[in-house]
Amino acid sequence: MKALIYFGVIVGLVPVQSVLLPHISVWGVKPDLGLVAVCLIGLIAGELDGLLVGLTLGWAMSLFSAQDLISGAVLKGTVGFVAGLVGRQVVYLSPIVLALGLLVVSCLAGLATPFAIKLSVQQDWWWAVWIVVLPQACLDAMIGGAIYWLMWTRLNIEQLMSESRM
């Protein structure tokens, strides 16, 4: 069942990210729903699930981008793994704290990306921070926080986390 849900998430997110999100991008920047999903999966289901889903989702999303396959997979896999480790240490997580955490994680992943991929001379570090990393991190935090808030109000997150990690 779990594998089926993960498969659905991976297969569903790629078209949403490449077909629908460009129409609702803010100043040409769209949120990385893959990163948000991997974070939430890692947090709720543990580091192994986060790592595997992150690797697969990163790879699948890189297939439809000019980004090389390995960097995308490794970055998302790492994010999923770290989210799983953090989830193990946390007892209670409010949506605001999760949004702030997502902001930090998205910023770190965004800052690591220019080192992992070969960008042109025009795309320097400041360009990356102001044009891509910070706006994307804000969008990721807002969307991730909203999704977690919905889950938080409708589901028993602690129970879900303990059941998923078993």
């Binding site: 990210q17 769209k30 297939l63 981008s65 000019a66 042109s120 795309q123």
Partner: protein
């Protein structure tokens, strides 16, 4: 008694007759003065009369309004709804027809262009954009099963769109000409100076390595040079909007406005052929007779 009554009546008649004659004569002899006298006398009278007149007129108006709006229009509500439904239907049909007309026009131009210029090209539809924010790419609905592979040029009848950088069996990722990581060999059509076209972070393009002695100027058209990359010679890339000359620099560069707006591209042609016809072959130069 009877005589007295007759006399009184007779005198009254005479007085009335005299007054009438005076009035008629007055009307005939002094029309202007009498008019103004009557006007002045009539003003307050008319003001008094105007109150009930307005009241009656108001009531009449209200009644006519009520009649016109509610009583006489009992069937109009239904008719209005029917007309609204018809209007919606016609609007929808009009939109569909307009879209079909535009699509037909676009596809006809693409087909004609394909027949004339590049018989080995493959037509593809744009189905998506880059999944990330770092590159400007489009996703096509054709892949390796249709003969697409990396480094093939992608164009529309208007000009260069980009080049294929990644393929799957059924899709291909095209790095757009406006991406800073793209580089296409370009040629200024008027001066024949060559350079490299690359994208900018502002979504435009730039022609680099133009010789210092070149007299290129804004308005000049830049086309593909056909030397390297997946493009034949002469496909439009953009128009020069500004020349940048830096002191002590070995080359000058130019800002380009791309011919194709990559954000609005819907159908493209992918150039499959690796060897392109030369200018002479394209113009079908007659072979010398033995």
């Amino acid at each position: 008694m009877r005589m007295v009554n007759l006399r009184a009546s007779y005198s009254a008649r005479r007085v009335a007759l005299v007054l009438a004659v005076i009035l008629v004569l007055g009307f005939l002899l002094l029309p202007g003065q009498l008019q103004s006298v009557f006007q002045q006398v009539g003003s307050p009278f008319g003001w008094i009369i105007s109150w009930p007149l307005q009241a009656v007129a108001g009531i009449h108006g209200r009644i006519a309004d009520i009649w016109g709006r509610y009583v006489a229009l009992q069937g109009v509500e239904e008719e209005n709804q029917q007309l609204k439904r018809e209007l919606d239907l016609l609007k929808e049909q009009n939109g569909q027809l307009r879209e079909a007309s535009v699509a037909t026009e676009r596809l006809s131009a693409l087909l004609e262009f394909k027949k004339q210029v590049l018989p080995t090209s493959v037509a593809a539809q744009v189905i998506g954009r880059d999944t990330g924010n770092w590159y400007k790419t489009i996703i096509l609905n054709k892949g390796t099963s249709d003969g697409l592979q990396s480094d093939q040029g992608v164009i529309t009848p208007a000009g260069v769109v980009g080049r294929v950088v990644k393929t799957t069996a059924s899709t291909a990722v095209v790095l757009l000409v406006t991406d800073p990581n793209n580089a296409i060999a370009g040629l200024i059509q008027r001066t024949r100076d060559e350079g490299i076209v690359e994208g900018t972070t502002q979504g435009q393009a730039r022609l680099k390595y133009i010789p210092l002695l070149s007299n290129a100027r804004p308005g000049d058209h830049v086309v593909t040079s056909g030397l390297v990359g997946g493009f034949p010679r002469g496909i439009p890339i953009g128009t020069i909007t500004r020349i940048d000359k830096e002191e002590e620099a070995l080359f000058q560069s130019a800002e380009l406005s791309p011919e194709v707006d990559p954000n609005r591209v819907e159908e493209v042609l992918v150039i499959r052929s690796s060897s392109f016809p030369t200018e002479g072959e394209r113009l079908v130069v007659p072979k010398p007779k033995p």
